[in-house]
């Protein structure tokens, strides 16, 4: 099979990945929140998914899954989209996609170096999105108090960084293993 999606910006595979990725974002965003043990902070598995799909299908897919998925999730379950956070989600997908575009995980290549690269990317992406962009937009759009939105951003960003670092990394490693070449296998007695 040809390498998935990355060669053409809007290949059919990218389009479909955006559609299915957004559907996954909605479902995991609604049902995939797991209590973390820290009060009022959940493990949002949907960001592990977003990071993985950005890694698999590239920055455009990452951006659009974040934007579309988050908008639909808010709209369907909470009535109206919270635009500042929607934009932040898109940004997370975009930045991870951009910074990991040289990892060819489809060939099963995901060792220590790639793991570090992926995590640096996700830390950068989450930091920019939740520590800066989301709170600033909250202030600009909704004129919310600065200390409130920065605290919220800090908690959400930290939680997402940890979530992606653990769950996202494990998923990426496991996915890469399913893509390894099978030439060397032989039956054992």
């Amino acid at each position: 099979m040809r390498s998935l999606g990355k060669q053409k910006v809007l290949s059919i595979k990218t389009i479909v990945a955006i559609g299915i990725g957004s559907a996954l974002f909605v479902i995991l965003g609604r049902f995939g929140s797991i209590p973390s043990g820290v009060p009022n902070t959940n493990i949002e598995t949907t960001y592990a998914l977003l990071a993985l799909f950005a890694l698999l299908y590239g920055p455009v897919a990452g951006l659009l899954i974040g934007l579309i998925g988050h908008t639909l999730k808010d709209a369907i379950f909470y009535g109206s989209p919270w635009f500042s956070w929607v934009i932040a989600s898109g940004l997370v997908g975009l930045i991870i996609g951009l910074l990991t575009s040289r990892i060819s995980i489809h060939d099963g290549e995901f060792g220590k170096r790639e793991l570090i690269r992926f995590n640096l990317a996700q830390i950068a992406a989450n930091a920019v999105a939740w520590f800066i962009v989301a709170p600033v937009l909250d202030i600009l759009i909704y004129a919310e108090p600065a200390n409130k939105v920065f605290t919220q951003g800090l908690i959400a960003g930290a939680a997402n960084i940890v979530t992606v670092a653990i769950i996202g990394s494990l998923l990426a490693v496991a996915y890469a293993k399913t893509r390894t070449k099978q030439g060397s296998l032989s039956r054992e007695a």
């Binding site: 099979m1 040809r2 399913t178 390894t180 099978q182 296998l185 054992e188």
Partner: protein
């Protein structure tokens, strides 16, 4: 002379990732308006052949082609996928993957939308296509509201709007119940005759496809064409068995009775077979093969008493259902989509609680038991193995349930190895699961349940998407489990499976129990067959046509005899 639409000349293909070519020296010409069936076991190259015709090779799957392939007179390699898709319309196996529209109407229109056809013209064409496939009453229905058969009709409609020259069906029967499958074959036949289109059907269910006549059957095995014959001749030759394709059951029955199959008895359709003196032979065979059924008494294991359940208020999916499953039994649950089959298994496993009624196991009401507690005694294997597999290595996957239950490392290793041996997976124990075939994966999921030592195992469509050889392996494997004392409950609409392996069949319709009897008697009851979307087996028809007075008994004797023959 008719124009050739597809011409393979000494054609070969090798996938980029593979060491060996998948197709070798294919030479095949299909002419305009022909209806051709391509059969072969999985891995025979029949799907690869289809991908070459519709252009997925080389556009989606790259590799190296040798020789020549011409579609409508043009070299395939010089055509774009767009040009190819203007000529070849494909109906894929998985109806949910191909149904991309939010409603039936939109999905049929998909092709026209992509061609930027003006809306007014589009509406007209969509209507015409919807009428042609008889789905026009559902134009605004969403895929979630449709049955498998209706989705397939939509998909076919979506291909017909494109005015293609060639229709390609990739395993059209794979996800349909027997009755819907029969209707699909009739629909394909009608569309072909009305439009004069060339039709190519890829399937391994020979008998079902032959419900309507085909011009030729091409048999593939290991990347070669091993036969290219009219149906009557192919069925008269002794070739199918060697490549692992099941011949129509009525022909097997005739052969057992010592009747020779030749083209002039019209072996291609049960209604057309010239029986003449064969009727007498069948009768003799029937009388000489009175193998007494071994009627076994099973102590009750699992019981449902007056179980009623619905996902929404006032819309019960199951109503006052009472049934009993014996220890060591192998039974099947049948019924059309939405009859409550999967809901039943979910209630037993505790995913949902009955609105009223109780579920008993070993004489104890298991109502208060949690999912996990029930899972220690009731194993549930889903239809799609990919929904169950969460580890990358086979060993880890099978060990998972034990690890979660806190077993010791040595105990786990011992149990896992023992189960892997039972399941014939021991040789692969350190393999990644991604390297296994679909059938093997299915076995892995069964192993991962068996390792918990349940008393009963429930399987949803255990043989779906598997060819005859794998079907056989899977079922024989399950039979060995039953022989070791396991209780097996199978949810299935595969009639062969029911007939050959189930000791008892329970038929559900509209949430109530419609029948609870031996499979041959269930399949002999026209009323039950109709309401459960089953189909009369051709063995039954054969018995009727030969004037045997107890067709169900004939079916039973055939199965018993066949079991002995194949067991050798």
């Amino acid at each position: 002379m008719k124009k050739a639409v597809i011409e393979f000349a000494d054609f070969g293909f090798q996938y980029r990732a593979q060491k060996e070519p998948t197709l070798h020296g294919i030479t095949l010409t299909i002419t305009e308006g022909e209806k051709v069936l391509i059969v072969g076991p999985s891995g025979s190259g029949k799907s690869t052949l289809a991908h070459c015709i519709n252009g997925l090779i080389p556009f989606a799957y790259s590799g190296e082609m040798t020789g020549s392939l011409r579609i409508m007179g043009q070299e395939q390699q010089e055509m774009s996928i767009a040009e190819l898709s203007d000529r070849v319309g494909t109906v894929l196996q998985d109806p949910d993957g191909q149904f991309v529209g939010l409603t039936v109407g939109e999905d049929i229109a998909f092709r026209l939308e992509n061609d930027a056809i003006p809306q007014a013209e589009m509406l007209e064409k969509v209507n015409a296509a919807a009428i042609a496939v008889d789905i026009h009453e559902f134009l605004s229905s969403s895929p979630q509201e449709l049955s498998g058969g209706q989705k397939q009709k939509t998909t076919l409609g979506g291909v017909l709007v494109g005015d293609v020259d060639i229709l390609l069906f990739d395993e059209p029967l794979a996800s349909l119940d027997p009755y819907t499958g029969k209707k699909a074959i009739e629909l394909i036949d009608r569309v072909q005759r009305e439009g004069g289109t060339t039709v190519i059907i890829i399937e391994h269910r020979l008998e079902e496809v032959l419900h309507r006549a085909v011009d030729r059957i091409i048999v593939m095995d290991e990347g070669h064409i091993v036969a290219d014959l009219p149906a009557a001749e192919l069925l008269s030759a002794d070739l199918l068995r060697n490549v692992g394709i099941r011949e129509p059951l009525y022909l097997t029955a005739l052969k057992y009775a010592g009747c020779s199959i030749t083209p002039d008895i019209n072996p291609q359709h049960i209604d057309d077979v010239r029986l003449d003196e064969y009727a007498g032979k069948l009768k003799v065979w029937y009388e000489n093969n009175n193998i007494q059924p071994t009627s076994l008494e099973y102590p009750p294991l699992l019981e449902l008493r007056n179980v009623t359940f619905g996902y929404e208020k006032n819309r019960p999916v199951l109503q006052e259902l009472t049934l009993r499953i014996g220890k060591g039994e192998m039974l099947s649950i049948a019924g059309r989509n939405g009859a409550g089959k999967s809901t039943l298994s979910k209630l037993i496993c505790g995913f949902y609680r009955p609105t009223s009624g109780t579920i008993w196991m070993n004489g104890r009401d298991i109502g208060p038991d949690s999912i996990k507690e029930r899972a220690d005694r009731i194993g549930f294997v889903m239809q799609n193995p990919n929904h169950m597999i969460s580890k990358t290595l086979l060993y880890d996957e099978v060990a998972l349930g034990l690890i979660l239950r806190g077993a010791s490392v040595e105990h786990i290793r011992e149990r896992v190895h023992a189960i892997l041996k039972v399941c014939g997976l021991y040789a692969f124990r350190s393999w990644p699961i991604s390297a296994l075939s679909y059938g093997q994966k299915k076995r892995v999921t069964i192993a991962s349940i068996l390792v918990l030592e349940p008393e009963i195992i429930i399987l949803d469509e255990p043989t779906a998407a598997q060819d005859y050889r794998h079907y056989n392996e899977m079922m024989e494997f399950l039979l060995t489990l039953v022989n070791q004392g396991m209780t097996v409950m199978m949810i299935t609409h595969d009639m062969h499976l029911m007939l050959e392996y189930a000791q008892r069949t329970i038929v559900l319709a509209g949430g109530v129990k419609l029948a609870d009897d031996s499979p041959e008697r269930v399949l002999g009851d026209t009323e039950v067959v109709r309401s459960a979307n089953l189909k009369e087996t051709s063995l039954f028809t054969l018995a009727l046509r030969s004037g045997l007075d107890q067709p169900s008994e004939f079916v039973r004797r055939f199965i018993a005899y066949d079991r002995r023959v194949r067991g050798r």
